[in-house]
Subunit: 263 residues, 2 copies
Amino acid sequence: MTVVRAIRAALPGEAIVYLGDTARVPYGTKSPDTVRTYARQNTAFLLDKGVKAVVAACNTVSAVALPEVESEAGVPVLGVVEWGALNALARHPHRVGVIGTATTIGSGAYERAIARIDASVEVLTQACPLFVPLIEEGWWSHAVTDAVIAEYLTPMRESGIDVLLLGCTHYPLIRSALERFFGDTVDIVDSAESMARALGAALERGEFAPSGLDASGALERSHYYVTDRCNHFQKLVTAFMCETKPAIESIPIEQLLQVRSAS
Amino acid sequence: MTVVRAIRAALPGEAIVYLGDTARVPYGTKSPDTVRTYARQNTAFLLDKGVKAVVAACNTVSAVALPEVESEAGVPVLGVVEWGALNALARHPHRVGVIGTATTIGSGAYERAIARIDASVEVLTQACPLFVPLIEEGWWSHAVTDAVIAEYLTPMRESGIDVLLLGCTHYPLIRSALERFFGDTVDIVDSAESMARALGAALERGEFAPSGLDASGALERSHYYVTDRCNHFQKLVTAFMCETKPAIESIPIEQLLQVRSAS
């Protein structure tokens, strides 16, 4: 939802079709092969809804599945890794810290993306597997979260970094705790914000052709699909998107597989 | 693996076919409907391997899916909830604390199981969603884990319980930390051990007919299947089961769905 909020801010006039694969999350602890399979299935579902561009609103998917997904999609597919790297390097850092899930960090995608822009920048990475569960538990401002941050990131703080890149779309929710830990000398960069601004600029430049989506009228409202019924999801959408009666639909996981076989 | 270890100890002469749905875990945060769908698919896969009994080595599955799974299976299906409740009440407690995942605790299965045996026993429950991620991270003996235990379970300790029932098969791995927190006056009961002892007794009484499994010879060794490649899994099997070269096979998640459609 942090990504959807950023896209809505950048593109207030576009309808959003959201798919949350709540029946199979988290992705960040799963193997690259499994993440790629899920990402291809999810993309096929969204394409079936007539979208003009797909955003992988997840760093793990962006890190390990983007080339495969884009080659199949036939529409632009945007991830968060490249934009996060670009935005981090716009601060002209000497040393960048990148944090993310085990699979994102294990993929080396951020090191490669940063090196393609400026190979002289030093990159320190740290997988933080407990951040997502802590955030899902709602412990955004909590002594336990502070202790876990200290456990994972004291070596990175001691090494000295200029920029901390939040390589997971959950992490903006503990941005304040991370700011407290790192202090004023470290700039915190959110990969989702970077991506949403880039998406807005590309749409303004007319890089993505208008699709039949808007003409049909059927998708004028944003639509939210989830693969598992989730009691908190409506509250989340309301909180993040200021939509009091969001259109949320649960779809059976089998529907993703059917879409995939049909494509 | 805590359940497999308990079964191996109770039944050293039986081949075990293990399925770890690593591509879709954790189950404890998912809705009962989704857990039931997964449990039925997983059971169909195991039945296809010719097993003579199925153990739901997961409290969440045991709590929300057992009747449906057993009615389809045609072989005995054992969960951990009933046995945990029986074993807890064998200590003649006045007040039992039950801890588990959000879905297990939300189901009320333990309260019902205990009330069926002795409705006079008071039951206190607490969902502990961060325990599984902490255990998966390997922080079994860690100040953060102690802090999370205190956060979740101080009210239960203050209310006073005689028995603490570990309603999640991960939790035996932090048993020592829980013992330190609750002290000597609280008996800790592991539902998996209870179930494995019951399974051993039932097999000795000949309640489960021998199947073609042993005659074929193909499954004389225990076989481990996982739906997602998992680097740690071989280490886990070696550590828990003392098998130096376990037979581990990754199966694509689609295979579970095929088995289900065929059944």
